[in-house]
Symmetry: C2
Subunit: 162 residues, 2 copies
């Protein structure tokens, strides 16, 4: 890894791999979630993630490099922590709380990575790639905010029944 181009390309591959892993994970989460609102949030974001992968395909093309993924241990760790919650939670509201937490860790991983990719695309004189990925970054931030609102809405009922 010698140039900013190499650094950018390596991170693109990391994020490409992460998005593809998340696509599978969101599908599973949508099935496991018990609240209808959360199911919808996961299913909607799964569709959005499909579009984000297509944007990455476009970005690879604009960058003139082959679209490919590279194993990303960070996202695998985040997903593994989520799986642990799914396996161990025995009550619906605990499962949902755990799923939201895991999904927000994944969203924030992506927010960080897209933020970095956008900064580097600008640095490399590729503003059109930066603009494309900015659309995804905004989607990730909205998905995270929606999960926060769903989590907040859980607080009051749970506190009352506790």
């Amino acid at each position: 890894m010698k140039t900013m181009d190499d650094l950018f390309y390596a991170l693109m591959q990391d994020v490409y791999y992460a998005e593809k892993q998340l696509l599978k994970t969101l599908k599973k989460m949508g099935k496991k979630a018990t609240s209808e609102e959360l199911q919808t949030a996961f299913n909607d974001h799964m569709e959005e993630t499909q579009g984000q992968i297509e944007r990455l395909d476009q970005a690879f093309e604009m960058f003139g490099k082959k679209a490919r993924g590279k194993k990303c241990d960070a996202i695998l760790g985040i997903i593994a922590e989520g799986d642990e919650v799914i396996e161990e939670a025995e009550e619906d509201h605990i499962l949902d709380a755990g799923l939201i937490g895991a999904a927000q860790a994944a969203e924030h991983y992506e927010i960080a990575r897209y933020g970095t990719l956008i900064a580097w695309a600008k640095q490399l004189g590729k503003p059109q790639i930066a603009r494309l990925l900015k659309q995804t970054l905004e989607e990730e931030k909205k998905a995270d905010a929606l999960l926060s609102r769903i989590a907040e809405a859980q607080v009051n009922p749970a506190a009352k029944s506790a």
Copy 2:
């Protein structure tokens, strides 16, 4: 894992482990960074991280449970990706860009996790723990924003010399 208490305690241990790993990593990053501004940012945040660990010690105590860490694969994956950059970068500005990217991935992991811990502390009727951890969350957000500003400042000189 059966109750929200268990879920909260497990995530506290995850974050405790993550902060202790980051303390070591920030020390290394502060030594490796070439820009003085970035060195200062890492060193300052290392001191802040020490305070955040102390806050977690307090939070464990307020929660009535032993302070302990539990291996967190997500943060280890993020740190490993940062180490790769450190080993492979051959130019100062590439090294610094890679370090900023790695540090922001770590910050966002923490932002997500503290956000979840705060929501769960409220849900568990522990507003004093929520308030304590909110201080850390604000510090993490500021640290992330500072890194973004440093990264942005790198864009123009690099674009000119490219």
